[in-house]
């Protein structure tokens, strides 16, 4: 009986994770695509210095960061993929969303910038559990130098 209850809880959590995880992801991607179109006119590039023909009027540091968690279903799927190897599909969308969201927030923090140079993206895993090898959620930080020219 105890095992059945345990199994039931597990299955329930998996379904909950799958349902809400998919809904959240779809919503997030929808918002990301919308805002990416909106901020497309602000190029974020990885040049270290300003191109020679540009005369800089103002420059400032811009930062965007985001923390996203994986859902229960995807975490379980990641364990299964871990056993057999291959692409860790459940984490691909997590990282993709976080990266794009961080860059968007960076752009949003300085909407009037004409160019953002020296853009860097960094990832850190945030895991409150002490268990080895668990990645519950991630932080992605994007930063660069926003520039307005004369």
């Amino acid at each position: 009986m105890e095992e059945l209850i345990q199994l039931g809880f597990f299955a329930g959590l998996l379904m909950l994770g799958y349902f809400w995880g998919s809904v959240n992801e779809r919503r997030h991607y929808h918002s990301i695509r919308r805002r990416e179109k909106k901020y497309q006119s602000v190029p974020a590039v990885s040049f270290k210095s300003v191109p020679a023909n540009i005369e800089v009027k103002t420059s400032k540091l811009v930062i965007g960061s985001t923390v996203i968690s994986i859902d229960y279903f995807k975490r379980f799927m990641a364990v299964l993929y871990n056993l057999v190897g291959g692409r860790l599909k459940p984490y691909e969308s997590l990282l993709d969303r976080a990266r794009r969201e961080a860059i968007l927030r960076m752009k949003q923090s300085s909407p009037k910038a004409q160019l953002i140079i020296n853009v860097r993206v960094e990832t850190a895993s945030i895991s409150k559990s002490s268990r080895k090898g668990t990645v519950g959620s991630i932080e992605v930080l994007a930063y660069g130098t926003a520039i307005n020219y004369k």
Binding site: E3, Y81, K89
Partner: protein
């Protein structure tokens, strides 16, 4: 240099395959592989146990017996009567290398146990429920059936397989581990219930040999059954013993044969 806006339709960094499809595939495949390996492991353990030399067998029994707790018997008015029947019964059976002891303790569930060191433990409730000599023989012979089939050694084998499996899966996530262990526990319990039915059939053979009839076998289980009708069948499915109804059915089948 002119900045050109890029089209944003491509999602190159995310695999487009369906996770739910992979989930089904992995679960079904995983359970199938697990079941096959578990079946092979337990049947090879059983094969080894069936072909043990008597010396090795008694050595192994010695290891299992060391796990037996010390039990203090409570005085019961029917102790002597049951011991006499037990002694007669022992002359009928062929079980090597065991020194049997009979103990009765005060307990309200109708149950009896066979410990690996040869102690047969009866709860006072089942002693009080037994009405005829045949019924007493049935219960005692059932417990002897566990020794006859070497169920303790098989249990140890199954336990070791289970341990090996949990250790192997221990490398993964703990939620996966607990789920697999609980599935394996269910399989192990099913084997346990099969052992109980096999012991019932053994007891039936002994009863037939001793008395020429098998009346006592059914009457006791029928009485136990009337005490448990209120309980859900699912509870029995998960417990270690078969439902009395299933036991009666199996016994009737065998008697007809």
């Amino acid at each position: 240099m002119k900045y050109q806006e890029r089209k944003l339709e491509h999602e190159l960094n995310v695999s487009s395959s369906n996770l739910l499809h992979d989930f089904m595939l992995y679960m079904v495949g995983g359970i199938a592989v697990l079941a096959i390996v578990f079946y092979l492991a337990t049947s090879s353990v059983n094969f080894v146990i069936d072909h043990l030399s008597p010396e090795l067998e008694s050595k192994l029994y010695g290891i299992v017996a060391s796990t037996t707790p010390t039990i203090k018997a409570d005085p019961h008015p029917r102790q002597k009567e049951i011991e006499d029947i037990f002694r007669q019964l022992l002359e009928q059976v062929d079980i090597r290398g065991q020194q049997f002891k009979l103990k009765i303790i005060d307990a309200s569930e109708e149950n009896a146990f066979a410990f690996p060191d040869g102690t047969i433990l009866l709860h006072s409730a089942i002693v009080d429920a037994m009405e005829s000599e045949q019924e007493i023989t049935m219960i005692l012979a059932h417990e002897l059936g566990h020794y006859y089939h070497k169920d303790h050694l098989r249990g140890m084998g199954a336990g070791l397989t289970l341990l090996a499996f949990s250790a192997a899966i221990g490398v993964g996530d703990s939620s996966l581990k607990s789920i697999v262990t609980s599935i394996l526990q269910q399989i192990k319990k099913k084997f346990g219930r099969e052992q109980e039915l096999a012991a019932d059939l053994y007891a039936l053979r002994i009863l037939k040999k001793k008395y020429g009839s098998t009346q006592g076998a059914l009457s006791l289980f029928k009485r136990l059954n009337s005490n448990t009708t209120g309980m859900a069948r699912a509870t029995f499915y998960l417990s270690t013993h078969p439902h009395p109804n299933d036991r009666i059915k199996a016994l009737i089948q065998r008697i007809e044969q």
